[in-house]
């Protein structure tokens, strides 16, 4: 901080306020005296004259016409004038803090000073609180406890109360805790320098361009340096950044309130008459029917934030004589808001000459078409452009311009385009259109090329947060809820999982939704927890407890998987430990949760393990996205995966993108990975490396919450041979990597996998265990129909024998169960031989015996 250098080197800091007992008592007494005087002034000012008039009415009901006599010569007339004098004093009291020039920020003030006395820049409120806390300290408290005493006194300040409400801290609770801690405080060896605290508060005020040091700055100082208050707040899960964030928010919203108040006071925010100021405009009855006058409504718009740059650019273009502008940006970047902002500026007169006194009007193509039902569209358009031209003061707003120009009823678009172009060239109209990148690129035509493009960028998280903070009071008012500070960054953070709009619209929409939900459930506080809970519902995953939930799973991963999975111990344990390793590292967060390559012959449980992982890790087997890579052998098939390249006009985003968009938390299973084309492998290399991919429409999707599993049969024969030879897993892995896999995959791709996992062929006992699991699953399904299934060990053996095939592993097993058992049972159910509460027994030869329950004839 360059400023700090000057601050430390050139300026000496003084503290003039005396803090001996007598001075403190005197200052407090003086403030009490002033408060009493103020109260007397207020009471006399408001009640004095009315009481005097009541006295007159009662005493001289017949002499009310000689008013001057009553206030000049009446016996008690002096009371009247004393009251008037008090009112004058009261006016002074009310206005004495108003400055002719606003106080400059401290950073500016100290620039040319050699010496500065910091207490003269403390607000009266803060000085009073300091005096009170110093007085408390006189009761034999050590220095170390002073921060707590000060904090207790600070809590009585209105601004500090707002601060803690925004931080979702129970105000009474914190007060109780503080009192308790002060009571129980034991002296220790910590030292605390009170002056350091005051200097810090001053320092904070200077750095943040504040005009004075107030209670908020002192609070910020209390959390910035080491002391008991800071520790208490940390235990309440409040960090320094939270406090300074809320304080910045409080200042910003105060500034917006002040501006709005000023605009209302000085008549800028008013409704406007249809007629412009110079009475040169004409009535536009047709235009009024197909659109909305934005200048007319501008008084009701929310304030515009952070788009001054773009606004300046738009004004510059119009000033330079270009009367057509297209604002280009994705849906949700706030183009509508910018247009509303221009309308607001027109109302306040704060615009360049060519925009002065103009009317901003939208045009709804839907209304236009509805109006011209019966084939008069061309006439209507003609009439409309005639009106606009004649009026000469219209700024026509065409949202989604390319789609308006592609309406193909009766060549309407061609007519409209020609007429608008004509008006534009004759400078009868200012046109502001909007488009997103894709449609703008595809749009052809003389009108669009005659218009100047202006790019509107998506907002970054900081600016989005600022928008949310500005919107919060309005939404609070609208829904009758209270939004805490921590809820807002959470919304910005979590909004990345939803891709309906660009920022800031996405976050604002979520905030609105959460407020709506809170209001409907009669919840007063929109907290971080509520935001997490509601967003979890929207994206189908317990976001709120990702970490708790995840660590529980990670610890028990093997156990959870083995609930319904047999053997492959190496595979399961290496996947579990790889995931644990990845997740316990301080994560860069820029790669998927885990990436694995499963190798092994068919039917050994590769796909099933992926499915189990989806069930265990993400809670449902629906969270598995399965892609058969043998369908992606051609380079063109890339478009099926991540959408058609830009400019081809297709808005299809591709299977992979669509799936991840819907379910950002999922297992992506790539079957027969080796069969994919190398271009497609490169896409996955990028995903594994960066954890993200940009779709063909230019939107970036996040893959950092996915587990990517590729399966492959590559080298399966070799693998089986080596297993038979009894080679170790590491050895096999090395041989496969260097001799088999490199035929299909580039080494950098192989190295990107967190682990290459080898699946062994199944033996008979394992197949039996699998058969048992499948039978248990069937029994579970039947129990939903209140039918009990029992089976003998022999039946399982027969089943395993029939379902086991050395080349196909356990794959035929399911088929066997389906054909021999499930089919039979469904036949029995349909023929009503099998009823609810009956029991069935699976015999050795896989035939079914029904043991009927006792049924009642009802």
């Amino acid at each position: 901080m360059p400023f700090l250098v000057g601050f430390n080197m050139a300026i000496s800091i003084k503290w003039d306020l005396k803090i001996d007992r007598e001075s403190i008592t005197n200052r407090i007494a003086k403030r009490h005296a002033e408060a009493i005087w103020k109260t007397i002034l207020a009471v006399v000012s408001y009640l004095g004259l009315p009481l005097y008039f009541i006295y007159i009415f009662i005493s001289y009901p017949d002499r009310l016409s000689d008013f001057d006599q009553l206030i000049f010569t009446e016996k008690y007339a002096w009371i009247f004038w004393v009251c008037v004098l008090f009112i004058l004093f009261y006016i002074r009291e009310k206005n004495k803090n108003k400055k002719i020039k606003s106080t400059p920020p401290l950073s500016e003030y100290i620039l040319h000073k050699k010496e500065i006395c910091i207490d003269s820049h403390f607000t009266e409120e803060l000085l009073h609180i300091i005096d009170l806390s110093l007085k408390d300290k006189r009761k034999n408290y050590p220095d170390q406890i002073y921060p707590l005493l000060l904090f207790r006194r600070l809590l009585s300040s209105k601004q500090i109360k707002i601060l803690f409400i925004r931080l979702a801290v129970n105000y009474n609770k914190i007060q109780r805790v503080i009192n308790q801690i002060i009571k129980d405080f034991h002296e220790n060896n910590d030292r605390f320098n009170i002056k350091v605290l005051f200097h810090k508060a001053f320092d904070i005020a200077v750095r943040n361009y504040r005009a004075q040091v107030g209670v908020l700055e002192m609070m910020e100082a209390l959390v910035a340096i080491d002391n008991p208050v800071k520790n208490i707040l940390i235990d309440l899960n409040i960090r320094e950044g939270d406090v300074s964030g809320v304080i910045r928010w409080i200042y910003e919203s105060e500034e917006i309130m002040r501006k709005t108040k000023e605009e209302t006071k000085y008549g800028i925010k008013r409704k406007r008459h249809w007629r412009n100021q110079l009475w040169t405009s004409t009535v536009t009855p047709l235009l009024d029917r197909v659109g909305v006058d934005l200048t007319h409504q501008a008084y009701s718009f929310y304030p515009m934030i952070d788009r001054e740059e773009e606004m300046k650019r738009i004004f510059e273009i119009i000033e330079s004589g270009e009367y057509g502008i297209v604002l280009i940006g994705e849906k949700g970047v706030g183009i509508t808001k910018i247009i509303e902002g221009i309308a607001q500026k027109i109302i306040s007169g704060d615009v360049p000459k060519s925009l002065y006194d103009k009317r901003m009007h939208t045009l709804s193509i839907g209304k236009l078409l509805a109006l011209s039902q019966g084939g008069r569209l061309k006439d209507v358009i003609n009439q409309l452009t005639y009106e606009i031209k004649r009026s000469g003061d219209i700024i026509l707003v065409l949202e989604d311009l390319p789609s308006i120009l592609s309406v193909n009823t009766e060549d309407a678009a061609v007519v409209l385009e020609q007429l608008l172009l004509d008006a534009l060239e004759n400078r009868n109209i200012i046109l502001i259109g909007s488009a997103d990148h894709e449609t703008y690129k595809q749009a052809r035509g003389s009108l669009i090329s005659a218009m100047q493009p202006v790019e509107i960028e998506e907002m970054d998280s900081n600016k989005t947060l600022q928008i949310l903070q500005t919107m919060a009071p309005y939404l609070e008012y609208e829904y009758g809820v209270f939004i805490t500070y921590q809820a807002l960054p959470k919304i910005v953070e979590l909004s990345q999982y939803i891709h309906d709009y660009a920022q800031p619209a996405q976050s604002v929409q979520i905030l609105r939704q959460v407020c709506q939900i809170a209001a409907s459930q009669k919840i007063k506080l929109v907290s971080r927890e509520l935001v997490e809970q509601e967003l979890s519902r929207m994206v189908n995953l317990p976001l709120s407890s990702v970490s708790d939930y995840e660590s529980k799973i990670l610890i028990n991963l093997e156990k959870l998987i083995y609930k319904k999975y047999i053997n492959q111990k190496d595979a399961v344990s290496s996947i579990a430990s790889a995931l644990r390793r990845r997740r316990t590292q301080v994560q860069s967060g820029e790669r998927p949760i885990g990436t694995f390559l499963f190798l092994g012959p068919t039917g050994v449980g590769k796909t099933y393990l992926a499915k189990r992982l989806a069930e265990v890790y993400f809670g449902s087997s629906d969270k598995m996205i399965r892609l058969d890579m043998s369908e992606y052998q051609e380079p063109q098939s890339i478009r099926n995966l991540i959408g058609a390249p830009k400019g081809t006009g297709s808005t299809d985003e591709g299977i992979l993108i669509e799936a991840v968009k819907k379910n950002p938390f999922s297992v992506i299973l790539l079957d027969e990975f080796e069969k994919a084309h190398s271009d497609i492998l490169n896409i996955f290399l990028q995903i594994m490396e960066d954890g993200r991919i940009t779709s063909s429409l230019g939107i970036t999707y996040d893959f950092t919450h996915t587990i990517i599993i590729a399966t492959s049969n590559a080298g399966a024969v070799r693998l089986q041979n080596m297993l038979k030879e009894g080679k170790s897993m590491d050895e096999i892995k090395e041989v496969l990597k260097s001799e088999e896999l490199n035929k299909y995959f580039k080494p950098e791709l192989l190295n990107r996998f967190d682990n290459i996992i080898i699946f062994k062929p199944l033996d008979f006992l394992q197949v039996m265990a699998i058969a048992k699991i499948l039978l248990d699953e069937l029994a579970e399904r039947l129990s939903e129909k209140d039918i009990k299934l029992e089976y003998s060990e022999e039946a399982v053996k027969t089943l395993a024998k029939e379902g086991f095939n050395p080349t196909q592993g356990a794959r035929p097993l399911r088929r066997v169960i389906q054909d021999k058992i499930e089919d039979e049972i469904s036949k029995l159910i349909l023929s009503r031989s099998l009823k609810a509460r009956d029991k069935i027994l699976l015999k050795e030869d896989l035939t079914i015996e029904i043991i009927p329950a006792k049924h009642y004839n009802l």
Partner: protein, 116 residues
Amino acid sequence: MSLTVFYFFIITVFRQIITFPAWWYTQGLALLIIHLYRMQVIQLKNLAIFSWIRHLFTPMFHDYTFVGRILSFIFRIFIIGGKLVILIVSLGLRLVVVILYIFFPIFVIYALFGRF
């Protein structure tokens, strides 16, 4: 304590009375004039008299016929006249407010003590 408060109360009242004129005729007056000035600026903006004079010959509501031009010229003259009247009256009123502000405390003092 209460005695100290009483002592400071007396001092406060005395100081308020003594420093009142200084505030009233400096900062207070300045604040009033600034407020009136801002109101005046807004009013000028709303009346847009200069723009009206510039557009004296521009026909109203795009009526470019000869009669329309004549009528609108006459009408504009009238309206500009009206606007000027509004401007002068409001300026006058603002001036009156300032004068009242300046003399009011003196008047009050006179009313209180002048006759005794």
